[in-house]
Amino acid sequence: MSEKSMYFHPDGQEALVELLFQLADDDFLLAYRGSEWLGLAPHIEEDIAFSSINQDTMGHAAMYYQLLEEFGLGTADELAHARPATERRNAVLLELPNGPGHYLREPRYDWAFTVVRQYFYTQAKHIRLESLRKSAYKPLAEVAAKVQVELHYHLLHWHTWFVQLTNAPGEARTRMIKAIQDVAADFAGVLTLGARGAEMERWGLIEGEDVLTEKTIAALAPAFAEVGLEWPMPFGMKHGNGRNGEHTPDLDDALATLSEVYRSVPQAIW
């Protein structure tokens, strides 16, 4: 997409850029973790569905990186591939591995953790987009409207998995409850807007994180009623606050893998 850069008040630009990096890095990292499931999902239909979702999500990240490109911060490819972990703004929850093992060698990935992470994140993303559609930065509002239309299908998909697995008897329910606890322990990291959150709100870029958190909890509540679990639960940032550049070594590993081809010939055209 190649639309001209739009004006935004210089005093509000730092907050805007910070927000765009959060949005871009969140989608980018989760789409990458999702892509590691390719060929490993529980059945063939899921393999197709999940790759489609990851492809969409990578497309969403690309849109945000392009908005950043228009501020002269580097090309979208550079921003996606060449920034070190310390500059990444994604929530730590989204960089955590899919489970033990490696996608090439004995992947013992955890589908329960994946379903819960995807469902919680997609619901939070949906609420965030609803707010972004009214953003004072018009190009962002336009992208949000487009992304939200696609997200509708992701939300249906993960809601179905979440309810069916949690309501299934035996091991499935036990594992889902454990996964919910693990995801909740880092979910505050998804909901926070970081140190510049108040500025983002003041410039009308997005609503405040308290409002967004409340709406996300309200949106998740019906699913918890469907599966007969107590809600809401406390959220934490067990592995750190990614909005402040705190990350796990897992992010370094992920970045090394996903940028391997890019780094080998940075000038190549894709």
Binding site: E3, S52, H60, A62, E142, A145, V149, L156
Partner: protein, 160 residues
Amino acid sequence: MTNEEVWRALETVKDPEIDSVSIVDLGMVEQVEIRDDMVSIHLLPTFLGCPALDIIRSRVEEAVKQAGAQAVTVEFLRHPPWTSDRISEVGRERLKQFGIAPPPRQMEPGAWQVECPYCGAERTVMENLFGPTACRSIFYCRQCKNPFEAMKPVLPLAME
């Protein structure tokens, strides 16, 4: 170049993944501007992660140049969002010929009724919301027992 010549050239650019349907049929062409022999074309992407977009861009440039343009620029717009009700009547028929059920023009939330593109029966079931491309889902017809694909409805969102 005339407006008509440009649109005729655009008619020849097919969706790389559905070769019976043109980008005009799909409602992807938002605007055509002609100044002397310089043509500027504004397109709407269907799905953001769609890998066919770059192919479409280069095919549009090629087709419009062949039709006589000196220079062609193709831009994908962020706004307005593409919605599936932009698909023309001809486009809907051509989708069916390709074995893809066209999307409903409007929809009650949660109720997506799909007619089999082969036999027209309404006794169809969704097998997978996601299909071989971002814009399609997989269905099965209980009448003629054919699996088929349906184009996902992408309808304008109301502001909450």
